[in-house]
């Protein structure tokens, strides 16, 4: 005890002396650093303000130039503070570009405006209908060109410009009028390219903005030295403190172990004031009959995501209070065991666990939590366990409670605990296989033919993905759910799509149908992959591709999906809707998604020859599709009877075991490509 006190005093003295000695320089460094970061922020802000103002200049027909001049002056002054040539060059180049942009901006705007005004009088001066039409087109092109950078439209504009330039007429009024038009078009034609050049130049070479702090410190040697001396001191101090701490720990070992531990480990959770997990681990061993009630807030993530972390924190601390204040008649201890997991630990034999769990659930959901004028209703699920290990068993019970729609608490019991464990085990195994597959890029692509119902010839193949599980070949479906939850899904999709693309490139006769989910399309990576492939290959490669959209998900970002579809369709790609007649599919989607092909869900097909309802549904889907000019495909055709019935219904294509099982794409031979 004596040694400890001496040691502590020693540390305090060293720290105090060191701090006093260096406090002045520390203070200065901190102050200057603050100033520098402030300067850098100001500088960047100004750059953004200038950008905003230039964009305004470009957008508005006319605008006050004073504001931008003021900002430029400010930028000039700010740049001097950095004493850096590269930065100065960047700024002076930017300013020069702005001036040049301004020089070109006004005549360009005026030329558009005047061409418009002249056009108003066109019919009085010009009789030539061709001329009038050309003039309208040209004006339209000018306006578009001002806002976008489109080579095609520029070419078109220049072509039309030639028309006006070479325009001949016997009528004097016409010639006079054309001269006026030409005067304006000349301006546009002459300056447009420069306008775009300087417009872009205003936003170039911005990398330097990320290096501002290093630029500043490079020139400020004094500051650097101070920083150095401070940091050497800081490191020294840290080493001393570290040694002191180690020795302190050594001496502490002599005392009661558990008692000491508690002094180091902070006892409570800061936010809720409940005991923390470390404490729980110690406490549970002391009790003779411990029972854990693991309470979890339902959909807690939503609170954080929708209302912000502050709100989430408030809800956590309120729920903690509520739990603490519920009287059970037993001695209980309360813990925060995870993000939104609370634990109530009781020490009691033979208690009514159902009653207690129900009471917690009802008491919590009865209380309303107010925050920032909002009222939140919180509900919880509970897992209960008195079997060891307490926490993980209660957790298994909790998972059960979560997945059960009727019951919101579960009490752990060995039998279902085991079954749950096997599922978890199986999932883990699948997840490992999946990881291996992705790592080795060893997804296998199978192909299944689609045949024309009338000729019986193969039209194309649907690409199906398979995973190798030791000696077996598994369908991908059981793995997809796991892939989605473990964030490797996009990687998996990329590999599948790449492999399909490889097949297309290898066999220039292969027509292929590739499955895409909405999630795939929304992924930036996959979107780029597809567009790059379509762009980089020969023109008709798109015509050999069909994308089958899996419609198992609601589409939220319709515009984005539609944009994607329109883009790929411009390459000749066809769009098919998979599993129509199940999930979220409806006819509105069909039209909105610009569908070419519709695959009727297998559940409607498999018993169509005897199930009158299904027959009726398929008949109507087919009829409607014909009217919407959409081709139809029937899946799961595995019996003669089905095929016969389908022929009556005027379906276009069939797919199923009757016409060909899926086979490994490696075995794709020249013969199988004879359509």
């Amino acid at each position: 005890m004596k040694t400890k006190a001496v040691l502590t005093i020693l540390i305090l003295i060293i720290t105090f002396l060191g701090y006093k000695y260096n406090s002045k320089s520390l203070h200065n460094v901190l102050l200057q650093e603050k100033e520098v970061s402030h300067k850098i922020n100001e500088f960047k802000n100004n750059i953004y303000n200038i950008d905003k103002e230039t964009l305004k200049l470009s957008f508005f027909l006319y605008n006050n130039y004073d504001e931008i001049n003021m900002l430029i002056n400010k930028l000039d002054k700010q740049t001097n503070d950095f004493h850096n040539k590269a930065l100065k060059d960047y700024v002076s180049k930017k300013i020069e570009s702005i001036y040049h942009f301004e020089i070109l901006n006004s005549p360009l705007k005026n030329s558009i405006f005047y061409t418009l005004l002249l056009n108003k009088r066109a019919t009085q001066n010009i009789k030539n209908r061709d001329y009038l039409k050309k003039l309208n087109d040209t004006i339209f092109d000018m306006i578009v060109l001002k806002s976008v950078n489109d080579k095609l439209i520029l070419e078109k504009f220049l072509q039309d410009y030639g028309y006006f330039k070479n325009y001949k007429s016997d009528d004097k009024t016409e010639l006079l009028y054309n001269a006026q038009i030409l005067g304006q078009l000349n301006v546009f034609q002459k300056y447009y390219v420069y306008y775009k050049k300087y417009f872009n130049a205003m936003f170039e070479n911005r990398d330097i903005l990320n290096e501002l702090s290093s630029i500043y410190y490079n020139i400020n040697e004094k500051l650097k030295e101070k920083k150095l001396s401070f940091s050497t001191f800081a490191i020294l101090l840290q080493i001393i403190l570290f040694i002191a701490l180690i020795s302190l720990l050594y001496f502490m070992k002599k005392f009661n172990n558990e008692h000491k531990k508690l002094q180091i480990v902070s006892k409570t959770d800061k936010l809720t004031g409940l005991l923390n997990r470390d404490f729980f681990d110690i406490d549970k061993q002391r009790l003779s009959h411990p029972i854990l009630f693991l309470i979890n807030i339902n959909n807690f993530r939503n609170f954080n995501e929708l209302y912000g972390v502050e709100t989430g924190d408030h809800i956590l601390s309120e729920v903690a209070k509520i739990i603490k204040n519920i009287k059970m008649g037993y001695r209980a201890r309360y813990y925060r065991l995870g993000g939104d997991d609370f634990g109530v630990l009781l020490d009691a034999d033979n208690i009514d666990k159902d009653m207690i769990a129900k009471k917690y659930i009802s008491e919590i959901s009865n209380k309303k939590i107010e925050y920032n004028d909002l009222i939140f209703e919180v509900s919880v699920s509970i897992g209960v366990s008195e079997e060891l290990p307490l926490f993980s068993n209660a957790d298994i019970a909790l998972i059960n409670a979560k997945s059960d729609k009727d019951l919101n608490y579960y009490i752990y019991n060995k039998s279902y605990g085991n079954s749950k464990k096997t599922i978890i085990h199986a999932n883990l195994k699948k997840s490992n296989i999946l990881k291996e597959t992705i790592k080795n890029n060893s997804i296998i692509i199978y192909l299944q033919p689609l045949v024309d119902i009338k000729t019986g010839k193969i039209i194309k193949y649907e690409a199906l993905s398979r995973i190798k599980n030791r000696d077996k070949i598994d369908s991908i479906y059981p793995y997809l759910e796991i892939a989605k939850s473990s964030k490797v899904y996009i990687e998996l999709s990329m590999q599948i799509i790449k492999k399909c693309f490889d097949l297309i490139v290898k066999d220039d006769k292969l027509n292929i149908s590739i499955n895409l989910s909405i999630q795939d399309i929304l992924s930036d990576k996959i979107n780029k992959l597809i567009m790059k492939f379509l762009d980089n290959n020969t023109k008709d490669v798109g015509k050999r591709i069909t994308f089958e959209l899996l419609e198992s998900e609601m589409i939220e970002d319709f515009e984005f999906i539609e944009e994607f579809i329109m883009k790929v369709k411009s390459y000749g790609v066809k769009i098919a809707i998979d599993d129509f007649g199940s999930g979220y599919s409806n006819f509105e989607y069909l039209v909105k998604l610009h569908t070419d092909i519709l695959k009727i869900d297998g559940s409607l097909i498999k018993d169509i020859y005897e199930n009158k309802n299904n027959y009726f549904i398929v008949k109507h889907i087919t009829k409607l599709s014909k009217e919407l000019n959409i081709e139809t495909v029937a899946e799961f055709v595995c019996q003669e009877e089905i095929s016969k019935t389908l022929k009556e219904l005027d379906i276009d294509m069939m797919q199923g075991y009757l016409y060909g099982k899926p086979f490994d794409a490696i075995n794709l031979s020249k013969d199988s490509l004879k359509y």
Partner: protein
Amino acid sequence: MKIFIIITFLLTALSSYDIITPIKTLKINKAKAKLGIDLFFDSSFSKDGKISCASCHQPGYGWADPRKVSAGIYGRKGVIQSPTVLNAVYNFKQMWNGRFKDLYEQINGPTHDSSEMGATNEHIEKIINKEPYKSKFQKIYKKDYNTYKMFQNAIVEFEKFLTTPDSKFDLYLKGKDVLSKDEKRGYELFVKTGCIVCHNGKNVGGNNFSKIGVVNNKKMAFVRDRYSITHKKIDIHVYKVPSLRNIALTSPYFHTGDIKDLKVAIRTMGYMNLGVDLDDKQIELIYKFLLTLTGKSPDIGSLR
């Protein structure tokens, strides 16, 4: 129909506000400005002792030069028309080609130019370190030796005094006066013909560079344009857009001083930069609007 929609769209984009803003008097150091007056009107600073700032920036002609180009020492002719000093403090750059960033730098131009005042810094400092200037400077700047910098400082202070607030149009913007029907229509035309694209801001110009003769290039002398500084092709025939404040007072017009009549200047500008032939009625209206930009002349007497 398409065109109609586009026109409506453009007109909505037109309706931006605060395009021209009123100017105010600047706070100045009276003692310095008073000293500045003496310097401004003193011809002893020039090489031949005959030219002062006021020789080419004449108070009776809107603080500009009524001649086509100014005459400097020994009767040497200048190459470009002398612009007004009025409200020059509000210009974003100085000189027709904007080669000086502020009034301080601007003073270097005419004082040192061999065909204007032809003076050196030593020459100027010699004078201001003799009486009567010596004590006047020391009273203000409190230094043993008076420098060229102080000379600049005093003149700039005086130039800051040379602003013309409370023009009819400014008063109208502040809601303190009304425009006549013709003046209003003139302003409308000023906007709709596109003059305002370049002539805007507190100085109704003087805040951007522009090419003269974008649509129709009249034969004009293109001396000392932006190109002579930047040597970029795009800067050929590019000048600082001049302020239109007090434009009625500062004939002749353009950098060449070619045109004496303001109405002809309006017609020429429309033809050269917008490609329109404005008719007499339109010119008359724009002219009337420009007259409202003439402000209250600064009263030097109030400084003395």
